[in-house]
Amino acid sequence: MKIYCLIGLLLSILTIANAISPNREIELKNFLEQDCGSCHGMTLQGGLGTPLTPQALLDKSNDYLKTIILYGKPTTAMPAWKSLLTEQEVDFIIQMLRQGK
């Protein structure tokens, strides 16, 4: 059972890696640091937006984070990014957030 999970995880990482070009990955890293950082702080400790450190996101599921990033959070300053980011790119960003990068 464990091994299947592991294979599944590896496969999903591979598909993410396959779908996003290395150049785009660099852009997305810069995007997270600079543009998310405008509101959440460059060290992601928070600002106008809430902190996004791995610790702060412990109780948030990937699905939740994905929904917030794609569709925004009504009544707050968090916008819907779906016109600028694909679902795969959002997955990549969540992966970076989890790793605290």
Partner: protein, 389 residues
């Protein structure tokens, strides 16, 4: 004996260096947001004089100047307040005054630095010479004593400061004549989520932009007893708002004569408001969601930059006709723009291309490019003598 003769010779080069006097009127500060450093720039010869490091998290930072234009006070995201001697290119004092701050202001007499904080929310006052704390005004509101972020902090005539209290939907007028015992007058229910504010150049009108609803909140500081008035909210357009990828900024630099130019939140438009009637005159369609709208000092042109995904462009508009004169493709992520004191040139920061670009404002051609590490705000010392900057 020989030794005594030698000393003046040894000192000579040091002395000549020390007497190289200069003013600061053509100097300024550029924030390097990723490295916690600032550049000291000189606009006459368009050059970078020096770099000062160790200012903490500058991912959102702003600067005010002492009225002798020698010291820059830098407000960092991490709550750091740093006093920099721009002639000597060094930090003279630095304190961590909160966990998270957004900006600040300097009092009319130059003696008080006020800082606007997110965590813990509120405004703190400091002695501009020593950075000793004078007073703290926590942003507590409502019956459950909730805390709020403060935004849009500006100085106002008669030793006052004005701030907007984001989650509380309030505007606070702070009288700092007794700097250790400031008096706060609160205006409630000014509109939903005031996100930033400007004060008109003469220091009379405080105008807060609203994030949670259409329109702006106006406080006439000559007649505060009349309260806060909601303006331009009646002409709401029915079209759907776009997601707001970056919070727009409001500045006193957006005022020209009777016109006030403000970004239309969530729209690719500049709102033109008539200061005589407080009516909306026009909405000018532009290439993106405006972030900064800057009027050239002679008030004949304005320059505007935009939020993602249009942040590589800058547009120049004619104020007499309210028409776009030119769209410039400046580079990836243009974050800020600042005119030289009389406006013959404008400096732009291009974050993702690690450079500053200077344009001649008549020819609209580039005249210089200078390297900078992820530059954001550009602040020239001329700001020292303007109300609200």
């Amino acid at each position: 004996m020989f030794r005594f003769l030698l000393i003046p010779f040894l000192l000579f080069p040091l002395l000549t260096f020390a007497v190289e006097l200069r003013g600061t009127g053509d100097l300024g500060v550029v924030i390097e947001r990723a490295t916690g450093s600032i550049l000291i720039i000189e606009t006459t010869h368009k050059k970078i004089i020096s770099k000062v490091e160790g200012l903490g998290d500058l991912s959102h930072a702003s600067v005010v100047f002492s009225r002798d234009e020698r010291f820059a006070y830098v407000f960092g995201r991490d709550g750091g307040l740093t006093k920099v001697d721009i002639l000597e290119s060094k930090i003279v004092n630095r304190i961590m005054q909160s966990g998270n701050s957004i900006g600040g202001a300097i009092s009319q007499d130059g003696k008080i630095i006020a800082v606007s904080n997110y965590t813990p929310g509120g405004v703190k006052l400091f002695d501009s010479e020593t950075l000793e704390q004078l007073a703290e005004i926590p942003a507590i509101y409502g019956e459950q004593n909730q805390t709020s972020k403060t935004v849009g902090l500006v100085d106002a005539p008669n030793q006052k400061f004005v701030t907007s209290v984001f989650e509380a939907n309030e505007i606070w007028l702070i009288d700092a004549k007794e700097s250790k015992n400031p008096k706060v007058q609160k205006f409630k229910n000014v509109g939903k989520l005031p996100y930033d504010a400007l004060i008109s150049n003469e220091g009379r009108y405080y105008i807060a932009g609203l994030f949670g609803e259409d329109g702006l909140a106006l406080l006439d500081l000559w007649y505060p007893e009349q309260g806060v008035q909601k303006i331009v909210s009646t002409l709401k357009k029915e079209d759907e708002k776009l997601p707001i990828f970056k919070m727009p900024h409001l500045e006193g630099f957006g005022v020209a004569g009777d016109y006030i130019f403000v970004p239309a939140v969530g729209r690719h438009e500049i709102l033109v408001i008539d200061k005589k009637t407080w009516q909306e005159i026009k909405r000018i369609p532009v290439s993106g969601q405006p972030i900064f709208i800057r009027v050239r000092p002679d008030q004949r042109q304005m320059w505007v930059n935009f939020a993602l995904p249009n942040n590589e462009k800058v547009q120049v508009l004619d104020i007499e006709t309210l028409q776009i004169i030119k769209t410039l493709e400046v580079g990836k992520a243009v974050l800020h723009l600042e005119f030289t004191p009389r406006g013959e040139e404008i400096w732009l920061s291009v974050r993702d291309e690690n450079k500053l670009v200077v344009y001649n404002t008549e020819t609209l051609l580039e005249t210089a490019t200078l390297p900078a590490d992820k530059p954001s705000g550009i602040f020239l010392t001329v700001r020292a003598h303007y109300i609200g900057l």
